[in-house]
Symmetry: none
Subunit: 236 residues, 2 copies
DNA sequence: GAGTGGTCTAGACCACTAA
DNA sequence: TAGTGGTCTAGACCACTCT
């Protein structure tokens, strides 16, 4: 068996197919039987691959009817508990600007619930799908000055910034507070996201605290409404 | 084969186990081998059940190590009923239209993740501040037909519909799934909320399940962005 | 080394959809 | 009625964790 699970390779091949052939919403995908033939794998493996794509919101499946490309290829984020939060970067990349120590402007301070003039490391990042596609989010990240020794080693890529901070500075996440609102895209965000000004967006402001209760990082993400859906699943 | 998939029954039995035995975070669950013996099913069925629980965030699995109860999402305290979740609910009222049994339109069915043509009781409500002020949300509520005997006794007021259903029909909420997105206000919603068409809004689609895992109620709320913010506070 | 969960095969029957 | 995806069985080998 190869190092990478077969079903992930099949999923990747299907993603590439949809991209290359420019399949739009509603376009049919091959049936499971056709895929087992094409990839020379069992139905189990094909179904695992399709399950993966369905979980990503890329396809929809209906018994008796078939598999089609989903209406809105939106990224879906599930489960707001911290571990899942760190993992949702799975099929996306985060492109970072260099970090700079800056004073919070009054508007930013109000948004983040801090005092204006506080100094934080600030960087701006764009989250894009692996391969190709429209940006999914633009994020302003603020990192507490006590992490100064490691901020220059934060890298673009798949790993979440908070996970990198944990690895580099031995930080453990304790609590995450999120504030979700609908806003109209501003000028800078609209440009970076390649959308029109005023497009409805989800704005998610997060505050990360370590296990001692000290605030460590804050971020403000803006997601175009049609490219992102936030899902919470809770049990009593 | 029974009408209800075997793996859902296994999942439900395991949920009941965790509840009855009061298993806390980190407590080990039986191994897959033990569960195949106990329930007399194949490993596939056991794994589907465990996959279900993992997707709900109830358990965590690690190869070589075993399956344990997951750290509880801190969200849970906020979820028992909608008013506790929505901070403003204490000072608002909910004005209802009468419930009518209707077939889901294709668009609504897609939004709610159901099949078009399914028949549900439908009512539309407007949440307004006590005293005076602009509406805070407009909500379409869908109630499962099995509650037919009590839907006419649902009343406008401060008590959440789900709480009323619980009181009138002896229903207990088991799981709540919420899907949050940013959308532009449509014509009908804009009129009811007295905002302009295209105004950014938070759309929250909720699915309520009873303790047996059966879906009981669904709702779709639309909040003008500047009148509503959704806050999640999660603790590990 | 023993035991765990992760991946995978080759079958089978079923519920549902669409022609 | 033919074909789809959903469920399920009985096996197998593997990567990983713990002791």
């Amino acid at each position: 068996m190869s190092r990478r699970p077969r079903y992930l390779e099949v999923a990747e091949a299907l993603r590439e197919d949809m991209r290359a052939q420019g399949l739009g919403p509603g376009a049919p995908l091959p049936t499971e039987a056709q895929l087992t033939d094409r990839f020379r794998v069992s139905r189990f493996t094909v179904r695992e691959a399709l399950r993966q794509l369905a979980a990503e919101g890329l396809i929809r499946r209906r018994r008796g009817s078939g598999t089609i490309v989903a209406a809105a290829p939106a990224l879906r984020q599930a489960l707001p508990d911290a571990p899942a939060l760190l993992q949702y970067a799975a099929h996306t990349q985060f492109r970072l600007s260099p970090a700079r120590l800056e004073a919070l402007t009054p508007a930013t301070a109000r948004l983040l619930g801090r005092a204006a003039g506080e100094r934080w490391y600030h960087l701006r990042g764009l989250r894009v799908p692996e391969g190709e596609g429209e940006p999914i989010a633009v994020t302003d990240v603020y990192i507490h000055p006590r992490f100064g020794p490691v901020v220059d080693r934060l890298a673009s890529g798949r790993e979440a910034l908070f996970a990198q901070l944990g690895r580099l500075a031995g930080l453990e996440v304790g609590r995450v507070r999120q504030e979700i609102a609908a806003v109209a895209a501003g000028a800078a965000d609209a440009r970076d996201l390649r959308i029109g000004r005023g497009t409805p967006c989800l704005r998610i402001v997060r505050q990360y605290f370590d296990t001692a209760g000290e605030i460590a990082q804050m971020s403000c993400s803006v997601h175009p409404g049609e490219r992102f859906t936030y899902i919470v699943d809770s049990q009593r």
